[in-house]
Structures are given as structure tokens and as C-alpha cells.
Symmetry: C2
Subunit: 364 residues, 2 copies
Amino acid sequence: MRELKVELGERSYPIYIGEGILEQIGSFFAKHHIGKASPLLIVTDEYVAKHHLAIVETKLREEGYTVASYIVASGEKSKSLSVLEKVVAAALEAGLDRKSTVIALGGGVVGDLAGFVAASYMRGVRFVQVPTTILAHDSSVGGKVAVNHPMAKNIIGAFHQPEMVVYDTATLRTLPDREVRAGLSEMIKHGLIWDADFTAWMEENASKLISLDQEALQYGLYMGCKVKSIVVSQDEKENDLRAILNLGHTIGHALEAVSGYNELLHGEAISIGMVGSAKLALRLGYPEHIYTVTKRILQAYGLPTRLSQHLNTDDIMSAMLHDKKFMEGNMVFIVPTEIGKVEINKNISSAWVREIVEELKQEA
Amino acid sequence: MRELKVELGERSYPIYIGEGILEQIGSFFAKHHIGKASPLLIVTDEYVAKHHLAIVETKLREEGYTVASYIVASGEKSKSLSVLEKVVAAALEAGLDRKSTVIALGGGVVGDLAGFVAASYMRGVRFVQVPTTILAHDSSVGGKVAVNHPMAKNIIGAFHQPEMVVYDTATLRTLPDREVRAGLSEMIKHGLIWDADFTAWMEENASKLISLDQEALQYGLYMGCKVKSIVVSQDEKENDLRAILNLGHTIGHALEAVSGYNELLHGEAISIGMVGSAKLALRLGYPEHIYTVTKRILQAYGLPTRLSQHLNTDDIMSAMLHDKKFMEGNMVFIVPTEIGKVEINKNISSAWVREIVEELKQEA
């Protein structure tokens, strides 16, 4: 088992990564002094519940905890205020009090939803993340939790750090192949923004990671979490540095919005977005190999690097201009300056971005 | 003008109290370095909007701010997730970004709602309180913000401190007399829990306060805010001491719930609750005058001290046992031990409480 500490002063917490460690979840809870007098609430989705809910409930009950569960529909639609209201109803019915803990068992959607429940229920209770997707290695570090508004993603939320993250890599075997690849897209991003060696390792180990080799997975998740935790430790509330984690996300979020959150998985959308950022780097005069390496790695994982013709450029641009990262009207982009390094560029002309969106439709 | 600083380290903020100071709201904003590049959103209710929205909008615009407003229906029903969703829609339409400020113009309902919007919009933006009720002197100190859930009051919320509070006592002239008295109930509470001299002053100045004598009001609000800020400074997140602010609230909340949030105003409900706590004090062997003084002051303000016969005792008890202050099944009560002092008593038998509820129906 690998262990990583996210350093956030009083709010520091460990991430445990290992195969089959859900078996020990009860002892992790006890070790973290999570009291047994107050009930726990597991929030999960239909798909994950089928595969992993029983063991989590059983192991926590064996340890002496009172456990309730609430199962939401799988997918982004569950990240809404109306589902939040239902989860809170379940929490009240189960008798959760201020010393209770909410557990997110699932991927990013469940993590964001359950995390915001934990942040806001009785103005904040404890929170434990049990990720069951690769993508969740990203969302389980940093404490960003939120639900969507019909007009904008992740617009209602909080910074709420978990007590711990219990990452059982055996659960990843229940992921569809497409989600595995999309999840690895964020792992690649963590290399590209911070660590050239890890980026090279990611390229070499593509086939191992895609086939869920447990040792490679554990190292990759460890490194992905580590990069993210270093960045978050330096800038918990996203005042500056933390923005580098948005590499590929400005275009990526717009693509998700325009394609209706169905056609493209998040990791696929940011894959295309990272190619866009690399193209922006070329325009700014940074070396050509940024673009070739970025594209080559993403292709090694079978991730999309070109934009579908049918997505309308005007729609994409307008989705981007509503994105909350455009503070005070400036267009901000995260741009790679070499492999493993990026800059926060606040002066990107929207005309360039439009041209790049067009070019992304012509990519090989 | 009186000025009070709420001491919360990095999150410290001032409360400005004075007659007619809304005229200067623009300069208060400028003095607090609230930038003009990002729009402001005023959240208010129908009643307050009619009397005070125009001046706030005008003065902020004169100072150079871009101002949008959102008006909710007056009353507790606006403290819901569905209204929150509408306010967030207004914020998005007005183009609020992470450097924007949300302004609560109104009483406790607007403060709680707008405060939770500020706490959660883009995971937190700045917040300014402009109270227009006496009751809001309580809710504008301490940063507790929340909306209600159909099953429980204030159950979804956050701790989110304002940048400043601008308290124009001239606005209080638009309050109905019954709300004036109910608001003064919390002011009396602040005396009872912390300050015997202030309690005596409250008794002597009842008629001045009820008739909205501006000098008396400013002193009373200053002292009420001061007591609350001392308590909150010592225990921002309600781990222990802060619970003393709940004097009268355990029974009070139950009465509000059972009477359907219509029959009794909050201040009226806690008035009855404070008589209940004083009766509990007698049972615990504390001096008789706690009860007589408490009741005499409340009566001087024309506040209710007896419980209406038609409210069902079983319903009241069951509402209390769902109250979130009963952590882990123990019954916790704030009990006065002398005038100006209380204790947090965690071992109050529910049988006693039931008897006291019955007795409150027999009060003179």
C-alpha cells in the first residue's frame, strides 16, 4: 500500500492507495478517531453500489459503526441542488449529527455531491472519499466540492477537505475501458503541468495502465495525487498557482457544455483541450515538441485529439466566455512552456482561441 | 456613528451602526477595497425593497459600482434551495465573478439566504450585510448562514463571515411594532447570557427601545452585537461556548416548528423559551430572581411568556428531539445560573422539559 499526505496545515489528510484495501476500511475509520456514536452516511451511485457498496457497509458495521446509504442515479445529473436536498433528507432520517461523517463512494460526481453535502450539512461535517474511478484521483485531492446549476457547472460549492481518501485500485476493474482511458487523461495532465519524468513514464507505461496493471496504477495514482497535492498545498483556495490544474480545461469545459455532457467524457474533452493548449504554446513561440509530445501521449492512450466537425465554433466560444475562469473579462489560459511546465497566461486573445478551435477540427 | 470590530483573526470585520449611514454606503465599500470591476448583487425581499433598495442601488452606483438586485418574497419560505438556485441564476446573469460581492439587504431571512449564496457561489465570494431589522443584529454577527430543508431549519449552510455590516438604524422605522419587540427579544437574550448591567439597562430603557429612540437603539444594538462578537470570537465554529447563544432557542425552535413558522415570530418563540430556561434554572436550584427578572423584562417589552394551550406538548417534544443541538442523543440546554451568566447543561432530562412545556401553558 502507498500512502501520501496532502499537506494543508490543520486540514492535512492522508491518501491510502492499494489493491483490496476496502477490506480494511473499518480500521482506517477507527485509526482516524471517527466516533461510533454518530451514524455514517455513504453516498454512492447505482453502478458503484452494485459492485462495491456491500463490502463498505459490511466492513464498517463489523467495526461497530452505524451505517446508512443513499444511492443516486449514475451520471452528472445527480450533481444538482434537488439531489442534494434528497441526500440531506436521507442524512436527517438516518439521524446524522454534527459529529457524523459522510462517505463518498464513487467517482467525481459522487465525490462532488457528497462533499458538498458534508460541507453544508449542519454547516459542515466530516467527509471521507472512497474513489472508484481513475478520474477521481484528481477530484479527491484539493477539497473542491460542488453541484451544478442549470446555467453553469460546479457553480455552487465549497472548499471542504476530506479526513482521508481510501483508494482501492481493485475497484477500478469494474470501470468500462473508455472510462479508464478518460481517467488517465487527468493523470497525463498532472505530468504535463509539473513533471517531465512522470510524463515520460506515462508514455512508456500506456499499455500497462490501460490494462489496469495494479503496480503501474498505484504508482500513477500516487504521482497524480502527489502533483495535485503539491499544487493545492501551495494555494488551497485557488488564488493563483492552483489555476495551472486547469490545463486543457477551458476548452474542455466548453466542449462538455456544447456537446451536452453526453458525447464526450470529461477526460476526453480535456484531452482535446490539452492539444489546444499545446497549439497555443506554439503560437506563443514555445518549442514545437510540446505539441508533438502532448499529442503522441494522448494518442497512445487512445484519447481524442481532434474536435468533431459538428460542434459549432460560435457555441464553443460562447460557452468559454461564460466560464468562471475568465475573471473580469480577461481571457486566461494555462499554456505549456515546456514538457512538465506551464504558465498562467492572462492575455490570450479570443481571436486566437477561435482559430485554434477551428484548427482542432482539422487535426490528424 | 458607533463602530464595533468583530475579532476573528484574518476574518475580522467591522459593524457600523448609525442613523442615516446608508447615505455613505458607497464610501464604506470603497474604504473596504471592494473593486469596481466586478458587479455586485443585492439580495433583498419585497418589503425591504420597497423602502430601502433604491437608496442602496443609487449610492453604490454613484460611487461607480455595477449593481444588480434580486428580490425574493418576504418570509421564511425564501430560505430554500429552490430560491437559492434562483438567486444564483441572477448572479450568473449579472456576470458575478469570484471578485464580486453579495449584499444582504434585509432581515435574518435575507441575511441567511444571501450569506449562503455568498458562501457557495463559485465556492465563496465576499459578503456585506445591511440589516434592516433589530433581529438581524444577532444574525449579522458570527457568520452563520443557511437555508432550510423541508425537514429541518438551517440544516444546509456554512460559516461565512461578512466583510462588514452597515447598520442604518433609520431603516428600523419601517418595521411593524410587533417585529420591533420580537427583535428586541434577542437583545434581551444577549444581556441575560453575558451582562447583568446591560440587562438592567434593557429593563430601564424598554419604552425608549420600543419607540425606536435612535440613541438607545444604537447603544442596544452595539451592546447586543458586542456580546455576540465576544462569544463568537472565542468559538467561531460552535464547538462549545458559542452554544450559550442558544438560550431559549431549544424550546423556541420547537415552538416555531410546531406552530408552522406563522403564529410566533422568532423573537416571540425564544421569549417563551427563555422563560422555560429560567424555570429549568429553578429546578436546578439556581436563585428564584432569575425567573422573576427574566419574565419581568420580557413582559416590559410586551413579549409572550406563556405558551398557547392549543400547541400539542407531544409535537413540541418531538420537534425538540429532532433539533440538531441534541448531539448524540443527549439533551443539551442553556440554563441561566444568575442574571448575566449561563451554563451549558448536557444532562437535562426530557421528562423535566416536558413538565416545563406543560407549565408554560399555565403561566400568568
